[in-house]
Amino acid sequence: MSTHAKHLLAIDDLTPEQIHHLLELTDHMVEVSGRSIPKVPALRGKNVVSLFFEDSTRTRTSFDTAAKRLSADTMNFTVSSSSVSKGESLRDTIETISAMGVDAFVIRHKSSGAPQMVTRWTNASIINAGDGWHQHPTQALLDCYTIRTGLNRRDGFDGLHIAIVGDIKHSRVARSDIQAFAALGARVTLVAPPTLLPPSIADWPVEVSHSLDPLLPHLDVLYLLRVQRERMADALLPSLDEYSAMYGLTAARAAKLPPHALVMHPGPMNRGVEMVVDPGELPGSAILHQVTNGVAVRMAVLFWLLGSGSDLKGDV
């Protein structure tokens, strides 16, 4: 069974079978996480280092928790407290830490492709925890897992209609989600004003709509992206109020969704902008499930890369 891989850099590196395998592995990790002592010895002695060159609370904590539940040793490396602020290059940083003995780096970087670069400077596994506008693969996997369990779609997403709403252009979450949802068979519609769509999406497996309201009654999943306030400065949006009026999830819009539909958001949320209604009052809100599932999915990824064995010593 050649489901094994060394790195997790982008969703489009994965086959649909590998995505399914990771989601099945996540079922096991959910069971482990539900125990009174949620810890197994699977990755004892493995060293997992998080290198975050960009702010993050949930992704970083989520990876940290995941590694600890598998008994791996963890080390956190923050840019402000490191030699990076003294001008050390990314390559020197990686090579220095690698020399201490590292099995996996979890990397977030503002530059697209940085995790891919890093694979050339170390023998450790690289997990992309978000690079620029490019990819955020574990977010996509946890989103898939949330839909899989929330809508009871273990075998795939055939026939599901998912709308991703908001700043698609600057969103690594959107890029990863689109690939993952499509790989599992979903129909994906992007909803955004033209200024927040990337210039070329001709080869993306998606449809595009500039208006949200007509879609609502037909959706199985409404996926809201965070509107990054810094985009206002780029004059891509006239005002947050206007965005909210067109695309924000109000109580009236939520009422138009089918009763089974899930509402998802990668966080952190801008209340009053893309999320006008209180998500706690939405029966279909899966946002907290996304966070919970994030830990289990990252356990699955860590176990898959570090624990499930290379094909080299293939005596089963």
């Binding site: 489901t3 096991h28 069971e31 009174s36 699977a42 990755l43 598998l70 176990f303 570090l306 094909d311």
Partner: protein, 171 residues
């Protein structure tokens, strides 16, 4: 390696072995009241279920709970070979004070059972843990022995033994 599998136990032989083991379990434990059957994923599940149904006919007042245990994350060969977990672990009752009968299809090196004993710890402290297997093929690498055996089968290391409800074969 022979490609043609040789039948060691027929379907009826397996059924009779399950019935005998069920009676041995009742005899050893003076009834079935505090038992829990825990099948090792994947191969041990059918034995746990078959034993539970025989135990129910032996003593209709008792329904022995059946659990499933996946030991992938407790193995000592994690990272050395591809590990593909079976179904998710499901222990339906607290194990504290109960007698757990672990079931597996084939007992070989004993390493899976060692991992299972460690994994069980996380679900409580059973009063006792016993081991029931359909086939004991020898070659133990750890000080582990079964309490209940369907058949002792001398094998060489590179032979493959398959034990299901339909019979036991070796190749």
């Amino acid at each position: 390696m022979n490609s043609e599998p040789r039948v060691v136990l027929s379907r009826d032989d397996v059924r009779r072995a399950v019935t005998r083991i069920a009676h041995e379990i009742v005899e050893r434990n003076h009834g079935a009241a505090d038992l829990v059957l825990v099948g090792l994923q994947r191969g041990g599940m059918w034995i746990a279920e078959a034993l539970a149904s025989v135990l129910h006919t032996v003593d209709p007042t008792v329904t022995v709970p059946v659990g499933a245990l996946d030991v992938s994350f407790h193995r000592d060969d994690v990272g050395l070979r591809p590990i593909v977990p079976g179904s998710v672990t499901d222990i339906p009752v607290p194990l504290d004070g109960r007698t757990v009968v672990l079931t597996d299809d084939v007992l070989f090196t004993g390493r899976t059972v060692r991992a299972a004993l460690e994994a069980l710890n996380e679900y409580g402290r059973p009063r006792a843990v016993q081991l029931a297997v359909m086939v004991d093929r020898g070659h133990r690498e750890l000080p582990i022995r079964p309490d209940f055996v369907g058949k002792n089968l001398p094998t060489s290391r590179d032979e493959q033994v398959a034990a299901t409800l339909d019979g036991v074969t070796i190749r």
